[in-house]
């Protein structure tokens, strides 16, 4: 069976085509194409501009995907799209496109939970059977474990997503959003050495980010780093304070932010692993590409006698193929989204989805 998946919940619009061989072999990615809306430095992506970008690209991407996959419309079994969660205006791009294609091609629709898409693609790519999942992106931060046909949320952020916190700090430092603010923070952090004290806010299995962002923002302001880096000014060359001691640099701040926040993520993941008795961790979502996070998670998992599974940027970052994968699993389990219900929604909890395709 073949499914096409459409994703547009944030600043990426993606189209993927997946094949589930009839003999039960592992799924094959036939196409996975995407285009990203990049906002200027110091700015976040605004819903209206992002949606305009997605509307402009989505048809081109569908055509490109079909071409790459070398499949014709009649081979496609169902059309899957992201129902939520996400930003309202961008979400509508995929939903409307999916509805149009459904009517045009007379194919059935499957509305997919974005988070479940990440989890299912991660499982398919890595082969992790029943991992504790850390889903960490610009919009979501959750620790998830599967239990009786639901992906249950064990811990989550009480306020802001981790990716959002990193993006916003990138804006404070006026770091480029190309290819992604988080990626650029990661590169800067590699040059950082000095750990500054930041709040560490783990509450049971939940975390809170707002105090950390406020603290690091105010540090950046107090060291005069809340502006574009000047020509020839190194990111890791400290200015001196009144007594001649070096101040933390941009690199140090990025380093400290990563070290603190990722420690919190690894901690709540470990707690969930201990709770459900799992030895596998799967990291999904855009922040999951971060090598330092993967490394820390790997050390934790090793010390528990387990292992960590992570995917690369093709699957970590929002994409259409994960929507096709989760949608096709649901479709094969009998799930359909009638046209009249083919809406999208900004709020859609991971544990609201009935996971009919797992035991």
């Amino acid at each position: 069976m073949i499914a096409i998946g459409l994703e547009s919940s944030a600043n990426k619009v993606g189209v993927g085509i997946i094949l589930h061989p009839d003999n039960g072999d592992t799924p094959q990615v036939l196409a996975n194409v995407r285009h990203t809306y990049v906002a200027p430095p110091g700015e976040g992506f605004l819903p209206k501009d992002t949606a305009r970008h997605h509307r402009y690209w989505v048809v081109k991407l569908v055509k490109k995907a079909l071409q790459e996959a070398r499949v014709s419309v009649k081979d496609v079994d169902c059309i899957c799209y992201t129902k939520g969660p996400g930003m309202g205006a961008p979400l509508q791009s995929a939903a409307i496109t999916a509805r149009m294609l459904s009517l045009l091609w007379s194919k059935e629709l499957v509305g997919v939970n974005h988070c479940v898409g990440h989890i299912e693609m991660g499982r398919a790519v890595t082969g992790a059977l029943n991992p504790v999942v850390l889903y960490v992106s610009g919009g979501n931060t959750q620790v998830i474990a599967y239990s009786s046909q639901r992906y249950r949320i064990f811990g989550e952020t009480l306020d802001m997503a981790v990716g959002n916190c990193l993006d916003r700090f990138a804006r404070t430092l006026r770091i480029s959003n190309d290819p992604a603010p988080g990626y650029n923070i990661e590169q800067l952090a590699k040059k950082g050495k000095r750990l500054v004290d930041l709040p560490y806010t783990v509450k049971g299995m939940d975390i809170s980010m707002s105090g950390i962002l406020a603290a690091i923002d105010s540090l950046a302001v107090s060291y005069g780093l809340d502006r574009e880096a000047k020509e020839g000014e190194g990111d890791d060359v400290p200015t001196l304070d009144a007594e001649g001691n070096p101040n933390p640099t941009r690199a140090d701040l990025c380093f400290s932010l990563q070290e603190t926040v990722y420690s919190m993520l690894v901690e709540i993941t470990e707690r969930a692993m201990a709770h459900v008795g799992s030895k596998q961790v799967l990291i999904v979502g855009g922040v999951g590409c971060n090598e330092r996070l993967q490394e820390m998670m790997g050390i934790m998992a090793r010390d528990r006698g387990g292992s960590v599974f992570a995917t690369d940027e093709r699957y970590c970052i929002d994409n259409g193929i994960m929507i096709a994968q989760a949608g096709l699993l649901a479709y094969k389990a009998g799930f359909r989204t009638p046209l009249s219900e083919s809406t999208c929604t900004q709020r859609f909890r991971t544990d609201d989805v009935f996971v009919g395709w797992r035991d």
């Binding site: 969660p85 890595t126 070290e259 690894v266 820390m296 790997g298 292992s307 992570a310």
Partner: protein, 280 residues
């Protein structure tokens, strides 16, 4: 892109305990701490040793700060509660520095008073197993069944009273489950052989353990969440005892003046649950 690794090895004990004979026995291994049974001062005094190993995934400065903060926090809660007369294990000795911070070996530890008995979880599991095996007695409402139920109700009241005493002292447990409530038998030899049909003993004092997630608070909201967590734990762990859970709340209600406020808040917390809706 996966990393798989060799078999699990528990972190080395802090050097003070590395040469202890017999070596401390590992009881439980949580995400944060390892709990051992050992002795204190002399070989005949049992004690619980809770070690917070350093976490190699964390930056060493952050690691030292956190381990120290948490082990101290837990010890302070316990010491405060002992002073207030709440049933918790006493702190016998501790080391918040970990040893030789640099080596990253060992980590911080607390030696605590050993609490005899078994968790309330075990007592209730025994009771529920007895119920399951003696369905007939329950259906006929025999004197044994009635007596057993009365004893369990009494146990649940004591649980409520102990949680009440905890909250009265201004401390929130943060992880109230029936595994973290010990039942310390009144008689030393509680493991008496049961006569046929007699239900298992649930006699004993309730002692609260594991203050790893505890905090100081006197807010109705925090107290209510504590109770809610316990209520949920009953629901998932002891389905047959759950109908008697109101006894816990009754014991709680009678235990201190502010209880009514917390119980009122509990109704709100039940309605909304822990669920939060979220933006994408």
């Amino acid at each position: 892109m996966t990393t798989t690794t060799e078999t699990y090895r528990p972190p080395p004990l802090p050097s003070l305990f590395a040469t202890t004979t017999p070596p401390p026995t590992l009881l439980t291994q949580g995400a944060e701490a390892h709990l051992y049974k050992t002795v204190f001062l002399d070989a005949s005094t049992p004690a619980a040793l809770k070690i917070r190993p350093s976490k190699p995934y964390r930056h060493p400065i952050l690691d030292r700060r956190l381990t120290r903060q948490r082990v101290l926090h837990e010890a302070r809660c316990l010491v405060k509660l002992i002073r207030e007369g709440v049933n918790v294990p006493a702190v016998l000795a501790m080391d918040w520095e970990g040893q030789n911070g640099e080596s990253g070996q060992g980590g911080s530890w607390i030696l605590m008073e050993w609490i005899d008995g078994a968790p309330v979880r075990v007592a209730l599991e025994r009771w529920e197993a007895w119920l399951a095996k003696n369905k007939g007695l329950a259906e006929q409402n025999t004197p044994q069944y009635q007596e057993g139920t009365t004893r369990v109700r009494d146990l649940l009241r004591r649980v409520g009273q102990t949680v009440g005493a905890l909250h009265k002292a201004g401390v929130i447990h943060g992880d109230l489950t029936t595994s973290n409530l010990m039942l310390r038998p009144w008689k030393a030899d509680a493991e008496v052989a049961l006569e046929a049909g007699e239900c298992p003993s649930v006699d004993g004092d309730i002692v609260l353990i594991d203050f790893g997630l505890a905090g100081q608070s006197a807010s109705d909201e925090d107290r209510a969440v504590d109770l809610y967590v316990l209520e949920r734990a009953f629901g998932s762990t002891h389905p047959r005892t759950e109908p008697l859970f109101p006894e816990v709340l009754q014991g709680y209600r009678e235990s201190y003046k502010g209880a009514a406020g917390a119980l009122k808040k509990l109704e709100e917390v039940r309605m909304r649950g822990r669920k939060r809706s979220m933006l994408g």
